[in-house]
Point group: C2
Chain length 609, copies 2
Amino acid sequence: MFRTHTCGELRLSDINKATTLSGWVQTIRKFGSITFVDLRDRYGITQLLFSESLNENLEANPLGREFVLQVHGTVNERSNKNNNIPTGEIEILVNEFSILNKSITPPFTIQDDTDGGDDLRMKYRFLDLRRQAVRKNLELRYAVGRSTRNYLHEQSFMDIETPFLIKSTPEGARDFVVPSRMNPGQFYALPQSPQTFKQLLMVSGYDRYYQIVKCFRDEDLRADRQPEFTQIDCEMAFVEQEDILNMFENLIKRIFKDVKNIDYTDKVERMTWENAMWTYGNDKPDIRFDMRLCNLKFPSHTFPGREDISSLISGVDFKVFDEAETVIAIAASNCSEYTRKQTDELTEWVKRPQIGMKGLVYVKCNADGTYKSSVDKFYNEEKLKAIAAAVNAKSGDMIFILAGAEERTRKATSELRLYLGQQLGLRRSDEFKLLWVLDFPLFEYAEDDNRWVARHHPFTSPKPSDIATMINNNPVIENAAEYLKHPYANIKANAYDMVLNGNEIGGGSIRIFQKELQQKMFAALGMDEHEQQHKFGFLLGAFEYGAPPHGGIAFGFDRLCSILGGSESIRDFIAFPKNNSGRDVMIDAPSTIDDKQFDELQIKLDLKA
Amino acid sequence: MFRTHTCGELRLSDINKATTLSGWVQTIRKFGSITFVDLRDRYGITQLLFSESLNENLEANPLGREFVLQVHGTVNERSNKNNNIPTGEIEILVNEFSILNKSITPPFTIQDDTDGGDDLRMKYRFLDLRRQAVRKNLELRYAVGRSTRNYLHEQSFMDIETPFLIKSTPEGARDFVVPSRMNPGQFYALPQSPQTFKQLLMVSGYDRYYQIVKCFRDEDLRADRQPEFTQIDCEMAFVEQEDILNMFENLIKRIFKDVKNIDYTDKVERMTWENAMWTYGNDKPDIRFDMRLCNLKFPSHTFPGREDISSLISGVDFKVFDEAETVIAIAASNCSEYTRKQTDELTEWVKRPQIGMKGLVYVKCNADGTYKSSVDKFYNEEKLKAIAAAVNAKSGDMIFILAGAEERTRKATSELRLYLGQQLGLRRSDEFKLLWVLDFPLFEYAEDDNRWVARHHPFTSPKPSDIATMINNNPVIENAAEYLKHPYANIKANAYDMVLNGNEIGGGSIRIFQKELQQKMFAALGMDEHEQQHKFGFLLGAFEYGAPPHGGIAFGFDRLCSILGGSESIRDFIAFPKNNSGRDVMIDAPSTIDDKQFDELQIKLDLKA
């Protein structure tokens, strides 16, 4: 037997017990004739005491960091207690030890605060994973998965595995494909999600399905994307949107409770997509703090029916605002005392290429009720006061105003809001705020092809009230410049995103379950009947045999874990992540394959020069 | 809300309750002016009663099989109760109904006893999955997974996801590969198992790992193989073989209890590989019944040290036995009265090409103590009596004897034993017998290449007592004809298989954890240093930094479920299986891909004529 206890287990109550421990040498400290060793395993650290009698043996068999060590000994009360660790009151008086395996010097220290850079840590991920900080992340990930499974089980969901070798039907993202040796010239695709399979399961009557499942997308990797990622994938039959929202906000609340011991008793807020864009400039707003956008000027085709307050800023011949498509203001609480240096820095920040604005207008709402702005020569005190009222700024606040093209300006204001929120300490990583964003547009306009694409995916149902609009109109866009006037531009989807602290953690929709409407949807996306049959014939076929109303949701498991762990990086929550080129630098994959493999698969390379 | 109750929920105690149900129309029966409909969902079947008042509505909206129906009504006590189903005492008096979706006539009936052949059922798998028989299988599968997770969680195992896009290192089976667009000319491989990753996790200190995970092998598919299959994959550090056997026989016992409500209190039997081959002719014996093999004649190089009893059959000039390499007998209890027709049938059975024997010798041990055999002209009563004693046959038994080349004869006797066991009702699908088979050979001889291959895999440790033999001998086989005399032929592995009712349900080993021994193993398999580094450099590297002793096991999840479900076919326990050509005939995959995909991946077809 290699051990009787783990390195995190022994306490004062175990004094005088004989014990055998196995683990890794964390540190070695020699004091005169005795040696202290901290022995580490997954469960903790226990101090070992090698007395003088073992010195000869230690000299013959010297220990080193990360050696794998087995010791037999007795539990002893420590004279010098360490209250920072649960085992800190005891130590093991070693009788006998054996080195189970040696270690050469690791390329970085196995500590929370390691000296290893990212590249080194990824190359030696097996050592990086030994660090407590990384282990805590994987433990949290396991706890989130376990909590999810328990909750869904209690709610009568069944985990049903769907296939990984499926059919390539590139719609949104690019598929990874797998050549079939047994069917030369043909390929499987790896699933971007089990979407159509879970819908088939609904047709089959498995009315509550889930899976925690790997998905694959061959996209150019941004900082925090992985070619393979994990989803909590769920689907329900005989439900309306309201049923799904209730079921899954309770899932997340349960995870909060099980994993973080947080009682999330607040009602989960809900917001339409249009309100989110209007109020936060963003479809995944961070509602841990207020600082709402005030649309001083906006294109009415994007936000029809909103009150036009542009008279507040017009008529003073301020060309920047007059010529801008959009002008948006936010008020930062208690920032009126910002120095010139601070406002200059913010101006530089919005002018960075990632933000891309030309400048930043500010209005100080002084504590004494006066106003001071960077545009005083255009706006008098009265005008500034009116603007401040519109922005809901109090005395002591600072208003920031951005102006420019619609999309860029809205995005920039949203980014500025998050940046200020961060600076002002309004985005605490231990505070969690959930939000449902609802009523997304069903379609997005694809400028390149002058056609509609599905905003969520082609299986998302329009709002019942919009079905007639969809069926009774030709999807073709006659006049590209006026696509916003096409009836399809205003069709809303029965789709919903769950947002946590400004991150989309999950999204889903009520699905189309009628063959005719699904065909209309495919057609709206530019798929002719032949293509519909080739790609999705099985689904259209299934819809002929009694498909029930259904809908579902998928959560990004990696992302959810990273937010719960208070980190920005999903990589820290994946045991063996890939880098930005899709490489696993530890195992050195992808790599070349043998001629025999090419031969069997009946493919060859066709490399561009 | 689509329903207030499921179709399996309502009971006599719910009488007079208002209820809303949704489900599928199973049957429609008209009796005069009233109509009965059985409504089905995943949870059960509830009878609906449409009274005369709804006739007009029913005529305007006729129902059909597999229509999706929603009804509002009141729970009523049935006059004509059905005790076969839990809802059989009630029916719903329908007030109002709506057809949620229609169905065309299904290509086969949605009943346990369907009229759909295999091909049709697979093409319309979404309908096949509606059948109760299939649903029960998937529910059992879910229950097995859930039980596994609960047990392993209680034992401090952590579910840790390992990557799917890894490196091609074809050793045993063929890899599926995935061209990398971002790394042109390079390929990922899909994992045949997470073997090296779980070992790295041991190096990283995650001493109890598990995963229920998809694995992939591009092999020609036999009847019951799938290109993608699921494993319960486990690994532990700081363990010896005994620890693993105890941990995982208790897992299976727990599954028996949770899923089948079986208290498996018997001690799990253990048998060496050699004893299994000697006693049952097979390394996965079905020990639900005895009928042991008696090796009347055998090659001593395969079973050194066993008692030679060939004098029992020699010296009578019976050429069939004299010229055979191997002669093996089994005794079938209480079969001495078998008719000529029956023994002829068995003779034909062993002569089938799948078994490949030339004939079958029988010896009747009559109830009166006399003997009658098909070889009476060679063996007198006394000789037959001695043979019967060796075979442990009692009066009333029938002895069957096969003779021929070693491997074929042993296999044929083993098959005959199973066939007789089946015929005699000794293999009951509701009886479960576990067995550990231990001490497998480490190597197998590969005749084609005249070299050693790993019987389990290249990471399996030899028995400690055999390590010296492995290190101190050159693996090269100088004389192919005498490979059995090479010291490597007798090296035993620290490997174990778990056998359930004659099926291997799991297998594993204690792993090599020392770099030098791992290198020696790779070299023994004919891998030079360059190839070792290219394929497994990361593992050899990891072993330099303090790898702990470790070992593990993997269970075939599909197979385990099928045996627990009393079925021979794993396909029945997979939601969306593939056929023998690796095709999913429902979605029609694999399929062709677009030119754009070839172009982006920088590969092209190279089809043989």
